[in-house]
């Protein structure tokens, strides 16, 4: 017996497990309870989502074209998820009500999106400059591809939906809010009283109001001020609200970074005879943004999830299109499938952002030490 324990203790994993999981009676019991809990939930979920689930065909091998074909509706209690609804509505989840024959345009935009942001994300990328140029070019390409222009038919934004709207609001909102938030953060620390108070009022007002209120205001109030027939695009209105909201939060994150810079840096720059903009651009911002990156990414993750609030003003984002799918009699009541799928998509994006933030933190740590 003692030989076994000795040989086990040499094993790194057992050593670790012994120290962390079974060090005392209480710890051992907790560990066992946790393992049972995770096992039960895990097997239940996997069984529901994969092993006893229908994908495109049911247990009789028939292609599932509506909910009555789902195995779980044929023999209740024995079968799990019925993913056919995701297959049937895949186009709507990805593109909303975008005309089917034009969806290649969205696909191209989706494919170009990573190229447009990769240059910003990784500073050691080869040919980074080219990627950055592309980043600035991308909004015009995306506008042309998605909305239309010479040679391409116009697809109104009321036809956009699903992941397209979620990504559009998330990416454009973050992209537009970033420069705005830098100006706001600098303005808030400005010595000029009018600029300073304008920035403070703007930031505090936006942060004092829930996003949903801003969305309602943008959606409901804006058209009332404008003359008859002039209706700014519904999606554009939501984008304005989302951008303002995000810029206020991001500005506060950046202000945190600005405040962390020792005063000596600014004084040294002044002593060298640099102007305000030179100091800001070359000394302050590079350091401040570096420090502020984790909180900025944090607000970005928050915003990405908050975009689903637009469903309350009648836009079909990923969540909205999912709910519309559930309202169709063909598929009604497949709540779990739709919501699990939507959560998965959100999780992929948010987890990606979170990992990126972690990677940056690690990188910055080595830079500073």
């Amino acid at each position: 017996m003692s030989v076994i324990i000795q040989s086990l203790s040499r094993n790194k994993f057992y050593n670790w497990a012994y120290k962390n999981l079974f060090s005392s009676w209480v710890n051992t019991i907790m560990t066992i309870i946790a393992i049972i809990f995770v096992y039960e939930i895990g097997t239940f979920f996997l069984n529901w989502a994969i092993f006893s689930a229908d994908f495109r065909t049911n247990f009789q091998g028939e292609l599932i074209t509506d909910r009555t074909f789902c195995s779980k509706n044929i023999s209740p209690g024995e079968y799990g998820a019925c993913w056919a609804i995701i297959y049937a509505r895949w186009d709507q989840f990805m593109y909303g009500l975008y005309p089917i024959e034009e969806t290649w345009r969205v696909n191209i935009t989706y494919a170009l999106l990573p190229l447009a942001i990769i240059g910003i994300l990784f500073d050691k990328l080869p040919y980074r400059k080219l990627f950055i140029y592309f980043t600035f070019l991308f909004p015009f390409i995306a506008y042309f591809m998605l909305y239309g222009g010479p040679g391409l038919s116009t697809v109104g934004t009321n036809k956009w939906g699903g992941l397209l709207v979620t990504l559009f609001l998330g990416v454009t909102g973050i992209g537009l809010a970033f420069p705005l938030s830098i100006l706001l953060a600098l303005g808030r620390r400005s010595k000029m009283p009018i600029i300073k108070s304008l920035c403070v009022v703007f930031i505090e007002f936006i942060r004092g109001v829930p996003l949903i209120t801003l969305l309602f205001t943008a959606n409901v109030m804006l058209p009332l001020f404008l003359p008859d027939g002039v209706n700014p695009d519904n999606l554009l209105r939501a984008l304005v609200a989302v951008t303002l909201f995000q810029s206020a939060y991001m500005a506060e994150a950046i202000r945190g970074g600005l405040q962390a810079i020792p005063k000596g840096h600014i004084e040294a720059a002044d002593a060298l005879g640099l102007t305000y903009w030179q100091t800001t651009r070359k000394i302050i911002l590079p350091q401040a943004l570096k420090i502020a990156i984790p909180p900025i990414v944090n607000t970005c993750i928050g915003l990405f999830k908050d975009t689903s609030l637009v469903l309350i003003i009648g836009l079909f984002d990923l969540l909205g299109i999912g709910r519309a799918a559930l309202a169709d009699m063909t598929w009604t009541k497949l709540y779990y499938e739709v919501y699990v799928f939507i959560s998965l998509v959100f999780f992929i994006f948010c987890f990606g952002m979170s990992r990126y933030s972690l990677y940056l933190e690690k990188k910055l740590k080595t830079d500073n030490s």
């Binding site: 909910r67 009555t68 509706n73 209740p76 049937a88 509505r89 186009d91 709507q92 009500l97 089917i100 109104g156 009321n158 007002f205 004092g208 109001v209 309602f216 205001t217 959606n219 409901v220 109030m221 058209p223 009332l224 001020f225 003359p227 008859d228 027939g229 209706n231 519904n234 469903l311 309350i312 003003i313 009648g314 836009l315 079909f316 909205g320 709910r323 519309a324 799918a325 559930l326 309202a327 169709d328 009699m329 063909t330 009604t332 009541k333 709540y335």
Partner: protein
């Protein structure tokens, strides 16, 4: 801060509403014709009433009213853009002129008709609050529900109607509060309550999704009035007439036995009202500012009321709603359109 904010918001509201009222001139009919398509406020998704199908095409009886108006105005029922609206923004969207008409299960009430600056042009579905119970309970009338537990959405008019109904009939109940429709479904199916109450159409739609729909019955008592119908902006009577008579044409079509299948044969009918409706006897379209075959276009492309009802919510669909109140006045319902002459 909050006081200033609320002051600011109320100021915005006042300004906004007054500009909206001041700005609502110009004929909607001309606007729609110039645009080449009808902007119709629809639901964000309600089974059988208005929801996009797998191919992304909108379907439902509310949607059919939009299609009927497009058929009347353009002779093409497909010239509609649907603007999904939630119950919270539907009236502002209409007032601001973003949509030309609203057709999304909206109850016609005095305050909405008068105070909100809307004009309800008719009723395309008579709804009302009902009760659903499990068949095992052996109940056949709401009068036998004394002492039952009821799943009820909190803070709705449904809740008040329920209290009134039980009080008026000297019965008691135990309420099981729920937040949403899906929560109510779950609670009811799990047996946490004996009765589930909401608008009858909602009960039917819920029942359609249950594992065994035939094990549940919707009781015959309807305890509130919920006439659902299309609405337009107040102050443009010509446009209101077009929407009103597009809906009426569908109802009259059923009355006269004209459907999308026989509409061409019916043009040779001996019945003068049929000839007037289908535009064989000219002159009626011009009164509305439409072509003479406007009603023909509605009936051939959208169909009559009964076709629309049977296709989207009738007994042969999963929603399985009987005509009931929504049958023609001749058949024991209250669906009634003024004469076409």
């Amino acid at each position: 801060m909050t006081k200033i904010k609320s002051l600011f918001i109320s100021l915005l509201l006042t300004l906004g509403v007054s500009t909206a009222i001041a700005g609502s001139h110009g004929s909607t009919h001309d606007l729609v014709k110039d645009r080449g398509k009808l902007m119709c406020g629809s639901n964000t998704g309600l089974a059988g009433f208005g929801a996009p199908n797998d191919a992304g095409v909108w379907e439902g009886i509310d949607v059919d009213v939009c299609r009927a108006v497009a058929a009347a105005v353009f002779g093409d029922a497909s010239k509609v853009e649907y603007v999904p609206t939630t119950s919270k923004v539907r009236f502002t969207v209409l007032q601001s002129g973003e949509i030309d008409m609203l057709s999304r299960n909206t109850t016609w009430t005095l305050s909405r008709d008068v105070d909100l600056g809307l004009e309800f042009v008719g009723v395309n579905y008579y709804d009302g609050q009902g009760f659903m119970v499990s068949k095992d309970l052996g109940v056949s009338s709401a009068m036998e529900l004394d002492g039952a537990s009821v799943c009820i959405q909190v803070g709705t008019t449904t809740e008040m109607n329920l209290a009134d109904f039980f009080k008026a009939n000297g019965m008691s109940y135990e309420s099981v509060p729920v937040e949403t429709n899906s929560e109510a479904d779950a609670a009811y199916l799990a047996g946490r309550c004996d009765i589930y109450t909401t608008d009858a159409s909602g009960l039917y739609a819920s029942r359609a999704g249950y594992p065994d729909p035939s094990a549940h019955v919707v009781l015959p008592e309807i305890i509130s009035k919920e006439p659902l119908g299309p609405a337009v902006r107040h102050g443009d009577s010509e446009w209101a007439d077009i929407v009103r008579w597009s809906l009426n044409a569908m109802i009259i079509g059923e009355e006269l036995g004209i459907n999308s299948g026989n509409v061409d044969e019916m043009k040779g009918s001996n019945n003068p009202e049929v000839l007037r409706l289908l535009g064989v006897d000219a002159g009626y379209g011009a009164m509305l500012g439409l072509s003479d075959d406007w009603a023909y276009n509605i009936l051939s492309q959208v169909g009559n009321y009964s076709e629309s009802f049977e296709k989207h919510i009738g007994p042969n669909t999963p929603i399985n709603i009987q005509r009931g109140l929504n049958a023609l006045y001749k058949d024991g319902g209250i669906l009634y359109a003024p004469p076409f002459r």
